[in-house]
């Protein structure tokens, strides 16, 4: 409300039902009343949208000095001396009347309505409505229900025309695809002809609907609300970290609802986040280990088929594979790829396992599709609120609507409602482009030079943007507070130019802060937990943190390991003896599929820990089944570094278990001990050891303060926010009331308390079993000199002496070979808590792209929300929405070929050749070609050369006649 931004924030006194209350200037009567314990019924009012005063349910008697009159309390701001009467006979009769009007044409098919039991119309009828019906006429009829999109059904008979969905679509989502049509008593909500409600945010309208008029296809007829059990949790479908209520019935996830928290998602979710819980329920989930059979007579791995095995068989093979790898010299002999889908606790456990037990620093949660870890971890950070509240945002990121949809909503809202100025530097137009003050295009590989030209005001630099636009962009960047939203705009160019651009911004404007736009789930948490080469938990470098962590963990690798590109290159060249895929599918997600394929073939022993048998996991020697989202608790970290809690809602299938348990047991089978037996103990250790997370105690995370999540690393919450809107069940039906109101921890732990032990169904011993048991089982473990002496696996000593031996090993010599039990609660002696990593551009020299070739186009590749990824493809409702691979070209590049949209073109790069359907798109500059990443079928990953600065492609018509472009 603009009115609330008055310079003087004094409170007003209002008389509410005879009692004097204090209210904020500009506050609406309905909100002030609710804050003071008087609930005024409502349907159309929603605190996150503009009031429209349409349903008339909230009319009360208001006297502003000219006598009492019935007025909608959602439209009238409080004024000094105002008298509000919500319980007068006149008010009661009017509210009775409105409810009766809303009910006369309502079908009252509550027994088969999804909303029955959590329906504001039902509840408010009980509380405020008439007791009987006087309507004897024929009710209004519509065809029921109609599909207005792939995901949403509309039952117009139930609709009370509150304008919530239509307002949301227009005001919040910016997708005005549903509207009122017809008039009067025949008014209905509908789409425009032949134009479905295909918004990425359509599911929010289902949650907003105060009746059962809008129905989610994945939920319809699946449950009765009173059978639902829920936990608070955080969405990990992307890295934005929306707070959610996760609901299940009969041990299956059935619904995810957005929960309104002020600093993050305001109650909104994208449809992918809302519906991809279907993947958790998928029949494709792994319920037990898979072990590749040994082909008869063959000595090595990988000759036979993957077949179900027992955990014992699987562990034996894993221990054997790791032991053999330890005999190989080199920093990449063991490598761990992935971890961005894990919880913080999982990631920490694997980070600790890799460093202190496996002895490798070649760990990378990113799959060559993000930014260098030191850039993400080491730049000064901004919160989401800081970005949305800044004067200017520099958007150096992929299309946020496709990759971080709710960040798009927040940024869009900031632009539309409060005039945020956005400067976009992007290789192609994005969904944010219409909301930008200036949008500059750059040719792949030239991001840094465009940004430098903008910052320097130098018009001579070889860029294509019109000079006055660059000048305007430069002015805006210097106009006030600036936040740079930084991601990887295109997977078909090296990350270095983007990092170099960020360094230039930081150099020129030292006050700038950065909001990461990396997309994958808990990638920021994984990096914070040290799942990146050269980075230790708590955002410290390997060198800076060496003493501190050596004290706690026992040993550390001697030097930085390899990143994903290095690991895969090493594997392809046969230097990786053991490759661990931690929920990673490089065949799908690494930009260069050819390299990923060669790496999986060339790696010695491949262990996949995953909830699904992905394309990459199919090539593993052992696949261990992991619990996935909804099946485990812990914490996750969003793109601003906000740590918020996850809760288990259902049990994992079969014997699948959480990743930290797998890490702990693997350590134990290798003769080590990670030192924790519950995820709470993992978090306690993180809080104690990880400098950036110091002070984020479990108690704080579980408190009301922690409900919104807590920012790690001392990043300040953007203050000066308006008071959070008061939400009630009618505002967000379905989110069981108590959660939002009380932020009560007892409810939050309904699904899985901190005190619970691992799932009894898992059939395996708890991870905290004593090490002696491991030794007795003959788990291979290696001593300090075990790697280098070239022994065979049979020669590795499997006794507890190794443990003793390694204790003496100095952490700063031969660290990669040493491990010992940390004991978890080790005292840190004299070591100082290390200071966090700061990155200011070192090593961010952008590789020089090759000279322009007039016969080639520079490839740009970015993701769509619905892709060929595991979550989307295992969610039956979402899988059909993946648009398929396309090549988008400027009409000026397409028309010389004599073809248009819809034509199949042959696209050739140095890496491969694919056939793609062409789309003319003026948002792609001439000389560039946009190929969507990771869509079903051949696509960008078959073209991208991850060794090069950029990828150049040639396009030809299939007839072979054409060829040259430009």
């Amino acid at each position: 409300m603009a009115d609330s931004e008055q310079a003087t924030k004094e409170t007003l006194t209002v008389t509410l039902d005879g009692k004097e209350i204090e209210a904020e200037p500009g506050e609406l009567v309905i909100a002030a009343a609710e804050r003071n314990g008087v609930y005024i019924p409502r349907f159309c009012y929603h605190p996150r949208m503009r009031s429209v005063g349409m349903c008339r349910m909230c009319i009360v008697e208001i006297d502003s000095g000219r006598g009492p009159a019935l007025q909608p309390s959602c439209m009238v701001p409080v004024s000094e001396g105002m008298t509000v009467t919500t319980e007068s006979a006149l008010t009661k009769k009017a509210q009775d009347g409105v409810l009766e009007f809303l009910l006369i044409n309502h079908p009252l098919d509550c027994p088969v309505c999804d909303k029955g039991g959590e329906c504001p119309l039902q509840d408010q009828t009980l509380a405020f409505g008439p007791g009987e019906s006087r309507f004897v006429e024929e009710k209004r009829h519509f065809e029921k229900p109609i599909a207005i999109s792939e995901l949403v059904y509309l039952d117009r008979e139930r609709c009370v025309l509150c304008d919530r969905c239509t307002r949301f679509a227009k005001e919040v989502a910016g997708d005005p695809l549903i509207s009122f049509i017809d008039r009067g008593n025949h008014t209905q909500v509908n789409t425009f002809p032949d134009d479905p409600f295909s918004s990425y945010f359509s599911g929010n309208t289902v949650q907003l609907c105060p009746v059962g008029a809008l129905l989610a296809r994945p939920y319809r007829f699946r449950a009765r609300p009173w059978d639902l059990d829920q936990v608070e949790s955080t969405c990990t479908s992307c890295a934005f970290g929306c707070r959610v209520a996760l609901q299940s019935s009969a041990n299956r996830l059935v619904r995810k609802l957005g929960v309104d928290v002020d600093p993050v998602n305001w109650g909104w979710l994208c449809d992918k986040g809302r519906f991809d819980f279907e993947a958790t329920n998928s029949d494709d989930r792994l319920g037990g280990p898979l072990v590749r059979s040994r082909a008869p007579g063959a000595a090595g791995d990988g000759a036979g088929e993957l077949a179900p095995g027992t955990w014992s068989e699987a562990w034996d093979r894993v221990v054997e594979g790791i032991a053999r790898a330890r005999l190989r010299p080199g920093r990449e002999s063991i490598a761990v790829l992935g971890g961005a889908r894990l919880t913080n606790e999982d990631a920490y456990a694997w980070s600790k396992l890799a460093r202190s037990v496996l002895g490798t620093d070649s760990v990378d949660a990113q799959l060559g599709d993000g930014l260098p870890a030191e850039v993400v971890v080491g730049l000064p950070r901004a919160s989401i609120d800081a970005a949305c509240g800044a004067d200017t945002v520099l958007l150096l990121a992929p299309d946020v609507k496709e990759e971080l949809p709710v960040l798009y909503l927040r940024l869009r809202q900031a632009v539309v409602e409060r005039g945020l100025q956005v400067v976009e530097v992007s290789p192609v137009a994005t969904a944010m482009t219409p909301y930008t003050a200036v949008s500059l295009r750059y040719r792949p590989g030239e991001a840094a030079s465009v940004v430098r030209a903008v910052l320097s005001g130098d018009q001579a630099t070889g860029t294509d943007g019109p000079a006055d636009e660059r000048r305007r962009a430069g002015e805006l960047l210097r106009a006030g507070s600036l936040v740079c939203v930084l991601g990887r705009p295109s997977l078909a160019e090296s990350a270095q130019p983007v990092a170099a651009a960020a360094a230039s911004v930081l150099d020129a404007l030292p006050e700038v802060t950065f909001l990461s736009a990396l997309r994958r789930a808990n990638v920021h948490g994984a990096l914070d937990m040290g799942l990146a080469p050269g980075v230790l938990p708590g955002r410290v470098s390997l060198e800076e943190g060496r003493r501190w962590f050596a004290d706690a963990w026992g040993s550390l690798p001697s030097g930085p390991g390899l990143d994903a590109h290095g690991i895969l290159t090493g594997a392809a060249e046969g230097r990786v003896a053991c490759l661990v895929l931690l929920g990673a599918d490089p065949l799908a997600d690494f930009p260069d599929r050819s390299l990923a394929r060669r790496a999986l073939a060339g790696a010695g022993f491949v262990l996949a820990v995953d909830g699904f048998l992905t394309a990459s996991a199919r090539r593993a020697d052992v696949v261990l089944p992991a619990a996935v989202y909804g099946e485990k608790g812990g914490t996750t970290t969003n793109l601003e570094g906000r740590v918020s809690r996850l809760h288990q809602k259902i049990t994992p299938p079969g014997t699948a278990r959480t990743d930290w348990m797998i890490a702990a047991e693997l350590a134990w089978r290798l003769g080590g001990d990670l030192g924790f037996t519950s995820e709470d103990e993992v978090w306690d250790e993180i809080e104690r050891l990880a400098p950036s997370h110091h002070g984020l105690t479990r108690a704080r995370l579980a408190s009301a303060e922690g409900f919104d999540g807590l920012l790690a690393g001392g990043v300040p919450e953007a203050g000066d926010r308006d008071a959070p809107p008061t939400m009630s069940q009618a505002d967000s039906p379905g989110v069981l009331g108590a959660m939002r109101h009380t932020k009560d921890d007892s409810l939050a732990t309904t699904g899985m308390g901190h005190d619970r032990h691992p799932d009894p169904q898992s059939g395996s011993e708890p991870a905290g079993a004593p090490p002696g048991l491991a030794a007795a089982e003959g788990a291979a473990s290696a001593g300090g000199s075990g790697y280098a002496d070239g022994g065979t696996p049979q020669e590795v000593r499997g006794d507890g002496d190794a443990v003793q031996a390694s204790v003496a090993t100095e952490t700063d010599q031969g660290g990669s070979d040493a491990f010992r039990p940390s004991g978890g609660g080790a005292d840190h002696g004299s070591a100082q808590r290390p200071s966090p990593l700061r990155w200011s551009g070192g090593g961010a020299t952008a590789p020089t792209p090759p000279p322009l070739d007039r016969y080639s186009l520079r490839l740009v590749s970015a993701r769509k929300l619905y892709d060929d990824g595991t979550l989307v493809q295992r969610s039956p409702s979402l899988a059909p929405l993946a648009p398929g691979p396309r090549i988008r070209l400027n009409p000026g590049d397409l028309s010389p070929l004599g073809v248009g949209t819809g034509t199949k073109l042959q696209v050739t790069s140095g890496q491969g050749r694919v056939v793609l359907v062409a789309v003319a798109d003026a948002g792609v500059p001439q000389g560039s070609a946009l190929v969507t990443f990771n869509q079903p079928g051949p696509g960008a990953a078959d073209l991208i050369d991850s060794d090069g600065a950029v990828t150049e492609v040639r396009i030809e018509t299939l007839g072979g006649a054409g060829g040259a472009t430009s």
Partner: protein, 447 residues
């Protein structure tokens, strides 16, 4: 009271064959008022209009000068909108003004825009009025060609453009905020109040004056003759002359320009120059004094003056100047049903009581007429009406009981909802027995 001898002001060209052409208009002092106004300067014109005490002729009766005065100082651009969406049943007085004298409207509009320093003018004409649209468009083209509209008007250095916009057939767009929504390309739905007047935030959220066609047609005369001359006509609270659209069961239905305040309903209905009495010598049953949404009046109110300040306290409204006469052959139930059907059909659907309640009332009435009424339906009709327009509904004194003055209260956003209640309340109040006959006998004595 008697029929006034005052000369007509705005209907002088209704009878002329060429009144709608520029030549015909110029031949009768056309556009001389604009020239005079341009010489006077905006503030002097505004003072004349204020002095004229010209009440808005659209229905609410708000003084035009005061409305213009609501424009916030120093907020520009300002817009001027002509409400030509005349749709109220019985009301047909703006239509002849647009059909027979479009230049008079344009001249009044131009003078008004000059007075309030408007940046652009919009004329919103009801979609069904094909001839009015054609004549206005032709007139505007002529005026542009003659230099009365456009750049540097008559060498004064003042410029303005006029945009014509045709409606799409919704009664509610006559409500000024719905008209603005429609003009902006949105659904024609009323805006929430506050802000109560478009003068603060109107078209494109800029200060906007919305005036009725008839209101503006008076402006040239006021500029030429002076505000005082206009105010001298009629009474203090009802100045000037006004067009009344007389329809229903009179001998001579038509649009008559009469002097306000000094003329009564009886004059209008019975005077030979006006209605000429009830048809066939029948008796008067009831009449609607100000368009279909006004509560009905009965024979004992015939001597009320045509003055909003008189009709309001008497329990109805002068509204849009449409007087609908019902003789004693009229079935009150069917008359009410027909009016309710109109309002239910024209509800925009935005707010619940009007959207649902109007259609419900229509269904109940239809059921009674079809012979399936129940005695409790009468109370139901009144109570549903009370949920749209709570509290005592305006009506004239009855059976020695005092009346309830206008206006009605509403749970709705705009007065369309209570308009639906008017015919029901008025008919039950006086003719409850006819309802009972329908309910008990399944038919009607008026067939």
């Amino acid at each position: 009271m008697a029929v006034s001898n005052a000369a007509p002001i705005i209907s002088t060209r209704f009878a002329a064959d060429d009144g709608h052409t520029l030549a015909g208009y110029e031949a009768s002092r056309g556009y001389t008022a604009l020239r005079k106004a341009l010489g006077m300067g905006p503030d002097a014109v505004l003072e004349e209009v204020k002095a004229a005490n010209l009440q808005g002729r659209g229905g609410a009766g708000f003084p035009a000068g005061a409305k213009w005065g609501f424009l916030p100082k120093d907020v520009f651009p300002r817009y001027f909108v002509v409400n030509g969406d005349e749709s109220e049943p019985g009301t047909c007085k703006d239509r002849p003004l647009m059909e027979h004298d479009p230049h008079q409207l344009l001249e009044g509009l131009l003078i008004s825009c000059f007075a309030v320093r408007a940046a652009q003018a919009f004329v919103y004409v009801r979609g069904e009025m094909a001839l009015a649209q054609e004549r206005l468009a032709t007139a505007l083209n002529e005026a542009y060609a003659a230099g009365y509209v456009g750049r540097d008007i008559m060498g004064s250095g003042w410029s303005i453009d006029v945009v014509l916009h045709w409606g799409a057939g919704a009664y509610i767009v006559g409500e000024e905020t719905a008209l603005i929504e429609s003009l902006e390309g949105q659904r024609g739905m009323p805006r929430l109040k506050p802000p109560y007047f478009p003068a603060a935030k109107g078209l494109y959220l800029q200060p906007t004056v919305v005036n009725n066609v008839e209101t503006l047609s008076n402006i040239p005369w006021i500029v030429l003759q002076g505000g005082a001359a206009f105010a001298a006509l009629g009474t203090e609270k009802a100045a000037g002359t006004r067009l009344f659209a007389l329809s229903g069961h009179v001998r001579r239905p038509g649009v008559y320009e009469v002097e306000m305040g000094t003329t009564t309903f009886r004059d209008l209905v019975e005077a030979p120059v006006y209605g000429g009495g009830i048809r066939h010598g029948n008796g008067l049953k009831a009449f609607i004094p100000g368009g279909a949404s006004a509560p009905w009046l009965y024979p004992e109110q015939l001597d009320l003056a045509l003055d909003a300040s008189v009709v309001g306290p008497a329990g109805s409204m002068l509204g849009s100047g449409a007087v609908i006469v019902m003789d004693d052959t009229t079935c009150a139930v069917r008359a009410a049903w027909r009016l309710v059907k109109f309002f239910a059909h024209e509800s925009c659907g935005k707010c619940t009581p009007c959207r649902e309640g109007g259609a419900w009332l229509e269904k109940i009435l239809r059921r009674i007429i079809d012979g399936h009424g129940r005695e409790e339906d009468i109370e139901l009709l009144l109570d549903v009406g009370d949920n749209i327009s709570p509290g005592p509904f305006p009506h004239p004194p009855l059976d020695g009981q005092p009346g309830v003055p206008f206006p009605f209260k509403q749970t709705t956003i705009c007065p369309l909802g209570p308009s639906t209640v008017s015919p029901i309340h008025s008919s039950i109040l006086r003719f409850r027995d006819e309802y009972l006959i329908h309910i008990k006998e399944g038919g009607c004595r008026h067939d």
